[in-house]
């Protein structure tokens, strides 16, 4: 009988992160952990990050917050005051994992660093997520998405050559770092379950994003060739020129990457025949023997010419037509999807990827991404609503830690919760 709420049933996580680490907590929720999001009294500052429900900038209407805190339980706690720290230590005694994304050294300054927490709970795993890591010359650097994208080297490769390098308009650097942190946390958790030994996981967003350079870095490492951003063209495949990979089509843009040799032969031949069958054949492409086609030996003029033929053909069809029909013909053409295309994607639809989450206080039902992996035995937990500010204070402070209502009122007035 398969488990419905992920493989990590009995794992308790205390989530102190802000936007640099929320995603790590979310992944652990999906894997089945009981994640308690600890916010400062008054709510987490990243509840002010948009977009917002109906564009109303209310801390309970941040779609950013709702996205990356699904399924967490929410409490408010101020670890800057003694009462807050005492309660936090009580929670740490019962926790398996603590994840945080404060400035490096901040928890130590409060007496809550790894050395302190591991005395309270030797088996504890502390995952610290930061833009550049807990140590090193940049550890105290102030960061934001664009700065991490810049310092990881990744941003230098996107955008048009006649304009500055450009980042993806929606911030992903912190999700990157947090996803890396989740992987590291799981490895540490595996070790702990085996040996009882906890440890400190130090995750860096810069390193996570830097690994996306992949072979671009290797061009320099091996042959001191530095790749440059080239707009909708691609470099790095054929050492000679740049090869267009984003083409206009009837209702937007599509992505078509031409590979040489055996890898690309089937696709290239399929496209050439498809264009020919539609009376829009390209003389140049018809003559090429695709099996032995070597990108390196194609001149830039030839590239430009047949790319023009291809675009003329694509302009006669929509994204989905090129995608669906192309696939039937073994021609790999992917739509450059807008968010709407992604939301309406038939593949995701068919795999019941989008899952309904009720939002009674917004009196709305929204569809959220489903499990990031389909597991046959331990299905990942379906998404549920993110917590409101302090929603589970009673449940945890009163029911679990046994604090009386009077004490909770006093703690509230002392700005501890």
């Amino acid at each position: 009988m398969s488990q419905k709420d992920g493989p990590l049933s009995s794992c308790r996580v205390l989530d102190l992160t802000d936007e640099k680490g929320l995603f790590c907590g979310k992944m652990l929720v999906d894997l089945g952990a009981d994640v308690i999001k600890i916010e400062p009294p008054g709510g987490d500052p990243c509840r002010n990050v948009g977009p917002f429900y109906r564009d109303i900038p209310d801390p309970e209407k941040s779609l950013y917050w709702l996205s990356f805190n699904t399924g967490k339980r929410g409490i408010t706690l101020n670890i800057e005051v003694s009462d807050g720290r005492r309660i936090f230590r009580q929670l740490v005694e019962r926790a398996d994992i603590v994840i945080e994304s404060y400035e490096p050294g901040y928890l130590d300054s409060l007496g809550l660093g790894y050395s302190d927490l591991s005395q309270i709970n030797p088996g504890l795993i502390l995952t610290s997520i930061s833009p550049f890591g807990e140590t090193g010359p940049y550890k105290d650097f102030k960061a934001s998405d664009i700065v991490v994208m810049a310092l990881s080297g990744y941003m230098s490769l996107s955008g048009d050559p006649d304009r500055p390098p450009v980042r993806t308009s929606f911030p992903i650097a912190y999700c990157f770092g947090a996803a890396g942190a989740a992987a590291g946390t799981m490895i540490a958790y595996y070790h702990r379950e085996l040996t009882g030994e906890g440890q400190w996981v130090d995750a860096s967003a810069q390193q996570a994003v830097a690994s996306a350079l992949l072979n671009a870095r290797m061009h320099w490492d091996l042959n001191r060739v530095e790749l440059k951003r080239a707009g909708p063209y691609r470099v790095g495949l054929s050492a000679q020129g740049k090869q267009l990979i984003n083409f206009r089509c009837k209702d937007g843009y599509v992505n078509f990457v031409m590979f040489g040799g055996k890898t690309g032969a089937k696709t290239n031949r399929g496209l050439t025949q498809w264009m020919e069958s539609e009376g829009m054949g390209s003389d140049f492409m018809n003559e090429i023997d695709w099996d032995s086609f070597d990108m390196a030996r194609v001149s830039q003029d030839d590239f430009d010419r047949f790319e023009g033929d291809i675009e003329r053909f694509f302009l006669t069809r929509t994204k989905s037509e090129l995608y669906e029909e192309g696939s039937k013909r073994g021609v790999t053409i992917y739509p450059i999807s807008t968010i709407r295309d992604v939301f309406e994607d038939p593949q995701l639809e068919a795999r019941d990827f989008w899952q309904r989450v009720e939002h009674p206080e917004l009196d709305a039902t929204l569809l959220y991404p489903g499990p990031f992996v389909k597991c046959s035995q331990t299905q990942l937990r379906p998404p549920s609503r993110a917590p409101r500010i302090g929603e589970h204070n009673q449940e945890i402070y009163h029911n679990e830690l046994g604090m009386s209502p009077e004490e909770l009122v006093m703690l509230r007035q002392a700005k501890a919760i």
Binding site: L31, P51, Y53, L63, S67, Y114, F132, T135, G136, Y138, S144, V147, M149, A150, G153, Y154, M155, P164, T168, S169, A181, A183, H191, E193, W200, V201, A203, Q207, A212, L213, N215, A216, R217, M218, L222, N223, L227, R229, G231, P232, R234, I245, N246, N255, S327, I336, S337, I339, R340, V342, D345, P346, A350, L366, L367, Y368, F372, V373, C375, S376
Partner: protein
């Protein structure tokens, strides 16, 4: 040195990006991983630049080496009738079996979950591909470079007045493995506690789309289809990259709050234009962003990107040099983090490998072995690890089972 995943045994039939990266991260943490390829149908990655000295060759491709370091490399021709016996030996040995062919190919090659489960009922197997094992588009071919477009990231990169420009390379190939490792290690833990194995169907599309969830909700709640906006941000102004001294050198700067704006003006010596009402408030700065960026560019052009970064950071502002593939390996922070580890590759020679983005204090990752050449460890793996007798090994070798 103790390692977290010591004793975990992985038979890695996967190729290209996501599958091998997942196995690689396990290898760095102590798992024994055997990367099984075939000379007759080599990993497409082995046919991608860069090659050592720009001379192509299956064993001269750094791309493949850097995604398969830490693994034993063997070759096995799965289409060969005798291959089935060898596969069974691998499955008996392994805790985890992985593959990342297009859906259906694994079944044809006899390494589907059904095949493997027959040999070892509690085996853990993961398949990763672009669009998942089921659904109408499951069999659509494509690499990470295509998926980046499908998942919506390409549309969101570039300038509003121009075509979308792709983020570099197979971005999704680097994101999906982080999900894969998390789920796989959770499955390993679950298996250790319950004895139950399972099959993991990792669709790279379905994992990486999680990063854009807020925009999915924005579309549902507000009917807005997010557009690319260059380097602007709704949260900050000034916000972007600014030209610095030297060829194509840039520094990113992000100013979020009114207090930071005051500090920013101080750093650039409070030129008169900073008092211009067009830049007097957050909203005003957002409305006149182009002019603002131009004026800032006039200041940054006189300084190196490093100088701009240091000046800003000292005043408490987020700023950073736009590193390039050519400068990234000298980045002081990545150097300190020991992110790039040099290993001596038999054909490529000394070159650098990315460490994992997280450091575990007691069981850190350890990069010991460079990427394997094709079939480099055939003899060791088949005789020492799988325990095939020398005679049988030589016989199978003769029959071309290991091509």
């Amino acid at each position: 040195m103790k390692q977290a995943l010591e004793g975990v045994k992985v038979a890695d039939f996967s190729w290209v990006g996501v599958g091998p990266i997942i196995a690689r991260i396990l290898a760095h943490h102590g798992a024994t991983v055997v990367h099984i390829e075939s000379e007759t149908a080599p990993d497409p990655l082995r046919a991608l630049a860069p090659y050592k000295d720009n001379i192509s060759g299956l064993n001269r491709c750094a791309y493949h080496a850097c995604l398969n370091d830490g693994k034993y490399g063997v070759t096995l021709n799965l289409r060969h009738p005798k291959a089935k016996g060898v596969v069974e030996r691998f499955v008996e040995w392994a805790d985890v079996v992985s593959e990342s062919f297009a859906p259906g190919v694994a079944a044809r090659l006899g390494i589907s979950y059904e095949d493997v489960r027959e040999v070892k009922p509690d085996i853990i197997m993961y398949s990763s591909c672009n669009l998942g094992q089921t659904g109408p588009h499951a069999r659509f071919r494509g690499f990470g470079t295509n998926l980046v477009a499908l998942v919506g990231t390409t549309h969101l990169t570039g300038w509003p007045d121009r075509m979308p420009t792709p983020p570099y390379g197979a971005l999704t190939d680097v994101i999906a493995p982080l999900f894969g490792v998390s789920a796989l290690v959770a499955a390993l833990d679950y298996h250790r506690k319950t004895g139950k194995g399972q099959y993991l169907d990792l669709s790279q599309f379905e994992s990486t789309v999680h990063f854009l969830t807020p925009l999915i909700l924005d579309y549902q709640a507000n009917g807005r289809v997010a557009q690319r906006t260059g380097n602007t941000s709704p949260y900050a102004a000034p916000h972007g990259v600014y030209p610095c001294k030297g060829h194509d050198r840039w520094c990113a700067i992000a100013v979020h709050t009114p207090e930071e704006w005051k500090a920013f003006c101080k750093v650039i010596d409070n030129p008169d234009w900073t008092k211009d009402p067009r830049f007097s408030s957050v909203l005003a700065r957002r409305r006149n962003e182009e002019e603002l960026n131009r004026l800032i560019g006039e200041w940054t052009i006189g300084l190196s990107a490093e100088e701009v970064m240091v000046k800003m950071q000292e005043a408490g502002m987020a700023a950073g040099v736009v590193e390039t593939p050519g400068t990234i390996q000298d980045n002081p922070q990545l150097k300190h983090r020991h992110h790039y580890r040099a290993l001596e590759h038999p054909e490529i020679g000394l070159h650098h490998y990315d460490a994992t983005p997280f450091t575990l204090s007691k069981t850190p990752c350890d990069l010991k072995m460079p990427g394997p050449c094709l079939g480099q460890h055939n003899e060791y793996v088949y005789t020492k690890i799988l325990g095939i007798s020398d005679e049988e090994f030589v016989a199978l070798l003769g029959e071309g089972v290991f091509e």
